[in-house]
Amino acid sequence: MGETTETFYDVIRRQGISRRSFMKFCSLTAASLGLGPAFAAKIANAMETKPRIPVLWLHGLECTCCSESFIRSAHPLVKDVVLSMISLDYDDTIMAAAGHQAEAILEEVKTQYKGRYILAVEGNPPLKDGGVYCMPGGTPFVDKLKYMAEDAQAIISWGSCASWGCVQAAKPNPTEATPVHKVIKDKPIIKVPGCPPIAEVMTGVLTYILTFERMPDLDRQGRPKMFYSQRIHDKCYRRPHFDAGQFVEAWDDDNARKGYCLYKMGCKGPTTYNACSTTRWNEGVSFPIQSGHGCIGCSEDGFWDNGSFYDRVTDIKQFGIESTADKVGVAAATTVGAAVAAHAALSLVKRAQQKGSQSDEN
């Protein structure tokens, strides 16, 4: 754990990273956050002057796919920069310390950084039978979570487990696995759903919080708008085929080879809010639809209980109950009011807008 006054920049320099690499990192980070080039300087400034904020990473009922995704982030590079930048003081999966020594860190951060540290939670607590179905360090995870959340200033719910419940909360949910926001109600919670979330989205959210000392702008479901305001369908490279009514009708038909739209094969792109079609995966190489399979909607609430991956999406209430990334209010436009239309139009324009990224691709 570092000194209280140590900045991100100090740590980075101490690790032998050059000023040039640091500036490059700042501009890449700004781009990955969808912020304009002007923000690169702001990020650099923040990292040079602001003390590091400790991040504690707890694991409940989960499969570690979030961690696996996280450590593969390319921009920013976790290995070189993020781990030092975010001062990941505790993560029982990837930390070197073990046993009592490790658990002592939690206590230390809780007192020393009271009210200032960020609590990142991967997985969720099972509540049944007093929480005995998840016992890290010999205590029920739900108790540990509540205890550490007391003095955190904000909580990040990593992945669909922490955000919605995911597979362990699927019917009949035998251990009563419960998403974080239903257990902790008095702290700001940022949900970063996905199974797992995209690596660059995870590091991007952390970078944003730590450099700007702000929560990212959240939608009504508590997801950062910068990554979750558009549906996969909105920016899918196969979208022109959808617009033109060109669909894959069977997995091995000619249309599949031509790369037509996968909607009829059960693609959940039209109802799924995530950044897969723009940020993509594995350093922007591809994403499920690009590899020929429809989106399974893993970042949406209750996706395990929403029927087969291959059922066609039929019921889309995009501004109703289901998807609330942006309140557009077109539903209210039964009788045409200019004000309602204007409001709807503004939301559509804002949502379509790209926030500052310089690149012409991805």
Partner: protein, 253 residues
Amino acid sequence: MNHQHAKLLPSSASVAHMAKGRMECGVCWYVYDPAQGDDVWQIEADIAFGALPDHWRCPQCDAEKSKFLALDIADENVQTGGAEDVQALIAAYQRVDQERMQDIPFRNAKLSIEAVDFQPWQGGSLGVVITPWFMNLVYLAGPNTDWTAHRHGDLVTHVLPSGRYQFIHGDLEGFGPLQSCSLMSPVTDFEDMEAARITAREVMRLMLIAPGGEPEPEGMRLKTEPDPEPTLASGEISRRELLRGRRVAAPEI
């Protein structure tokens, strides 16, 4: 106008916007007019310049096809916002609707296919297209637009007065290349065409006006410092101070 669709539809877009356009030989100023055709090469009337056979040469001076330049198509297209292309586009989507979209569960039958507020933009034309299954901002190529480098599915960023937008390059059967930026899909929330139309008009208006102010990071501010200072981070000058000509952030503000 229907006879024009027939003429425009079978060809690609590049041909589509040349269909009515006259082309002038850069060597001898001979004008090829599609309405007339060409007796020397036995080209019938209503054959677009782009559809002429490869061996066709200037009937007057034997110059190659590539020596020809658009005579009046550019002006015409700019004045009308590419009205003919837009009609061809609508016709193409109407066919898609009838042939392939009828069984799509979220097709909004209350909506019809309409182009809203298309206007000249960057040599081509820009407007909103409403169909029962999407509402897109659509950019159509003009006579001088070069899209040869773009492939189907490429994301292309365009800068409008209101900001940057990512368009997806696509190729519509029976029309040709176009670039579209999804505003909404599906469009089940529109109760009638009028609601969709008004929204689309408003979208176009907002797209073309510049926003004020400089960008700021969004979101709720966190409390991070034990004693939060009221000013900005050291060395940073607020916008107000900058405009007043102050060089260093004053701590008492």
